[in-house]
Amino acid sequence: MADEIEFPGAATGRSALSRRILNHLHANPTIIPLFVLVIGLIIFSFVVGERFFHPFNLSLVLQQVTIIGTVALAQTLIILTAGIDLSVGAIMILSSVAMGKLAVTLGYPPEIALLLGIGVGGLCGWFNGIFVTYIRLPPFIVTLGTWSVFSAMVQYFSNGETIAQRDIEAGAEFLQWSGEAMKFGAARVTTGSIMMLMLAGFLWYMLNRTAFGRHIYAVGGDQEAARLSGINTKRVLMSVYLIAGLICGFAGWLMIGRIGAVSPLGGEMTNLDSITAVVIGGTSLFGGRGSIIGTLIGALIVGFFRNGLALAGLDVLWQEFTVGLLIITAVSFDQWLRRISN
């Protein structure tokens, strides 16, 4: 990611300056989303006024992007390997239902229920990985299938019933811990948000400072070349799907903290929302290029745009409209960079 790539076509037709800018953008895919985020914040500060920059509101947006942000971290790892995971939302809900059932209905200690619930997520990820890696099915198809399978399991285990807040508080309050807010003046930062940021820091380190992380980029860039250069590509892929599953399970816990209850409904759009955050964050759907920081910024962009447009009094359909435009713009830009670099 960090290596400078020369653009042969650009060298002849363009000035040295624009070539350098292109190189820089290619090497640092987070610059564009960061730019969009800053511009967005400036626009909303003018349009909405002080309510937007009120610490309560800023911390609220952070809370609102916690779930999608966390799932998008998992999605980033998978998209970096040129894959895609449509089952992330279903894994998340399945894990949270498992935690709730184990702790509330079956009376397990909530800490054990949490670990087992995250384990369920890992198992789902591992299942995806087997099909992608060893049976060599396209990730889109595999996870399209497991999305249904995991959703069906959710209905099976939950009977479609929500576990209410009062029942969780009665014996498994620990499951709600991620929703607890620390007060900094008017701001409310939940432990869940902090854990998401810590997880992002950890994944950033893993991707950029460890051999395993570099291998993920290599596999996504060109799997065959990675294999020929001695990387155990199958193990890398399996690990990525497994880790993604574990992260989604973890997101299931954050979900319980955020809404205070365990709802078997919902999560249906989480897969697409996470892909949205990843793509707007500058990660290429073709694999091998992108970053964790970009994904966080991508999630924040979506969160701030939705919140800002809502505070400005705009109808929800214009929020959808704007997010849609952001996606198309982000992907067009990625395509354009790829075309030039070829």
Binding site: R51, F56, L60, I259, G260, G266, L311, G313, V316
Partner: protein
């Protein structure tokens, strides 16, 4: 780069124009009312939104609508409530997708001094909202049951009744309408919270039709297999009734020998009453529900008055009216022509 800049330029101007229209008044400290529905595609919710927007306009309060992306989308509803808290709303009108899971978030809004009114669907627990404005679904069922009984006259004693309900899990609305019908028809309902524990021999059977046309047709076919001579059909809603009619037609029983009753008051349903497909339907009033809600919030913002409940009920009854072209004595009703003026969807 250039097209990015251009796009940003466009979006700035679009935002500026839009904000000029809608948000100018948000700054003047006036009242903001939010409506959050399950989705924004169901005509029932579209009508609600229309009613709320009109009333808000009339009372000079600001109004903003939110909706989940699909039925069951709790997370988007949570976000909408939070954004309304942040925007300083005075009241939230809510049709909850997950009546249990939304409760902690609703509590946050109430803690922030916001009046929360559950529309159409009560929260679980009931008192999680400050008030509930809804159709009296038991009464909706009772009206069509009583109409069917009166229409059949002496034949009611030997009626054969098919029930096309919605879901196996016995959702409240589903049970209330079903039990209301039985009460109106003169069937001993035993436990009013439970459907299916009745022993009356006039009941042919219950089928869970899911509230859809496909389910209605399948259910009718199944129950016709059970007893081909059935002559009264209760349906949970009008799409189910339309499906049942298709099955009756296919079986050659579309000669007026079967009475179909339903609940809702959607425009396609009312047209089916006019065409003689549905004998009678109980109309509910989503527009009125939302308009009353806006009124209640405006009143609350003015002097802190809390909304009242209808006498004898634990919620505010937004009314239900029987629609039929064959009125019977003792039951007030309107004709399908009148109903077409009031229907939704």
């Amino acid at each position: 780069m250039t097209h990015i800049k251009r796009w940003l330029g466009h979006s700035v101007s679009v935002a500026a124009i839009a904000i000029g229209c809608t948000a100018a008044s948000a700054q003047d400290g006036s009242v903001l009312v939010g409506l959050i529905t399950k989705t924004d595609t169901n005509p029932f919710f579209v009508k609600m939104r229309e009613g709320a927007a009109e009333k808000a306009d009339e009372l000079g309060v600001n109004f903003q609508a939110f909706a989940g992306k699909y039925d069951g989308d709790n997370d988007t509803q949570v976000t909408a409530v939070e954004n309304l808290i942040s925007a300083g709303a005075k009241g939230i009108l809510m049709v909850a997708s997950d009546t249990k899971a939304i409760v902690p978030t609703i509590q946050k809004a109430r803690d922030a001094g916001i009046l929360v009114i559950a529309l159409d669907t009560p929260l679980d627990p009931f008192n999680a909202a400050d008030a509930t404005f809804a159709t009296d679904n038991f009464e909706a069922g009772r009206l069509i049951g009583a109409w069917a009984k009166a229409t059949m006259g002496d034949g009611a004693a030997n009626a054969k009744i098919a029930f096309l309900d919605a879901h196996e899990s016995q959702p409240t609305v589903d049970v209330l309408r079903d039990q209301g019908f039985m009460e109106g028809f003169g069937i001993d309902i035993m436990n009013p919270d439970r459907r299916g524990d009745e022993t009356d021999e006039r009941i042919v059977g219950h089928f869970m039709a899911g509230g859809s046309e496909v389910g209605g047709r399948e259910g009718m076919e199944t129950l016709l297999q059970k007893d081909f001579d059935l002559n009264v059909v209760y349906t949970i809603n009008e799409p189910t009734a339309a499906g049942a009619w298709e099955a009756l037609k296919a079986a050659g029983k579309d000669d007026g020998s079967v009475l179909i009753t339903s609940v809702d008051g959607g425009c396609p349903g009312v047209r089916n009453v006019a065409d003689g497909v549905i004998g009678a339907t109980s109309m509910q009033f989503p527009l009125r529900m939302a308009a009353f809600g806006v009124e209640a919030v405006a009143q609350f913002a003015k002097d802190g008055t809390m909304p009242e409940v209808t006498e004898g009920l634990e919620f505010f009854d937004t009314g239900v009216t029987l629609v039929t072209d064959n009125p019977v004595e003792g039951i007030e009703s309107i004709t399908s022509t009148e109903a077409l003026e009031l229907c939704w969807g």
